[in-house]
Symmetry: C2
Amino acid sequence: MVIAAPVADRLRDEILQGVFPPGERLIELQLTERYGVGRAAIRAALVELDAEGLVQREANRGATVRRISVAEAVEITEARAALEGLIARLAAERATDVERDRLRALLAQMTDAVEQDDKLAYSKLNRDLHGSLCRIARHRVADELVANLRNRAAHHQFRLALVPGRAAESLTQHRAIVEAVTSGDGRAAEAAMRTHLASVIDVLRHWEAFDTRA
Amino acid sequence: MVIAAPVADRLRDEILQGVFPPGERLIELQLTERYGVGRAAIRAALVELDAEGLVQREANRGATVRRISVAEAVEITEARAALEGLIARLAAERATDVERDRLRALLAQMTDAVEQDDKLAYSKLNRDLHGSLCRIARHRVADELVANLRNRAAHHQFRLALVPGRAAESLTQHRAIVEAVTSGDGRAAEAAMRTHLASVIDVLRHWEAFDTRA
DNA sequence: GTGCACAATACTGTTGACGATCTGCCCCCG
DNA sequence: CGGGGGCAGATCGTCAACAGTATTGTGCAC
């Protein structure tokens, strides 16, 4: 989106990888040293990531990594459901044969990961699958929005992958999505995607109830 | 979203109002004089509006008001359809009695505007109605995304309002939306909203065919 | 008249420094 | 012993100046 913002890209990656956990202060001078650039560049990156919703800036008090509450993660996932529903529909309508094969291959890998109970690999393949659908749909606007939303809720998504039995349930839903897309059934693809994300929301809401009680 | 960015707000308003038309160069020094702030503040505003998709920055070549092609306006409206479908559904589920009355009143005003063929007033009421639904839905994430998308395609939306007979068609669709929301029927509200925006997309696509031919 | 090299111009990108503001700590007073 | 005022450190916000790059205009050769 933004031209030549390698600093913002690096900082975004490090935030997503947990180098800077939610709530961590992002002090301009420190980042200056870490990335070897001037304070102005850091400032621009922080403004950009603020607009993306990844960091929070307060006047005269600096920037922090934004904390995403479970309630907000629910909202984010609801918005994703709407947009990825569109994406799934378009992907079903526009996928080439090669792309359909690639999706089936991805699903096979996911099945393997579940059988071997490799949660980390599954989580990665999960992201890959959703990302592939975004590219297949050839819809830049929705693609960008979804990528942003996914980044914002990344920590919760990761936590989700660790829930026992979650991967198996998720796999079934992904299979439905892939089947609908590969068979070119747009309506079914949209419905399957919505069902999938609705189940994610269910888990999140369960946490929300638990967290607020605690 | 971003704290204390009055410069970005003013610049955004002026871009949306057409003070700076699409393609216009935004020269930092000129903006410095216009807003009476330093170049650093202007820079921050430009980065922010770039992230919003309203301006485009090129390395060493400055910023321009972003041109939105008709094709991109179609994508934007498709994304809006998905998100505002969600919003309409939530609005139907969550609206208070006062809010329902307010929606009906707004619809009555729109009917008046159409009868008097006041396109300008209708266009404004149109925005008001969509904005009201966003607030009623109480969904910050979707609200922000939709507001951004609406800004990006603002010029095309405005052009749309001037199409002869468009207001009457639009009014019918808005009536369906308001009726579904006030009667608390979430599914119908979502469907009505999607139908409405699909018809907007139809008009846009028609232009696209015409524009590319010309 | 046309195309190319070159210089002048305009603007952006970056740096460094200064002033303003907030935070945490300590001391003094009650 | 606890609380408020003030001081010091840390950090942000802003400004002015400099350097780098793209663009425009000019003159010359052909």
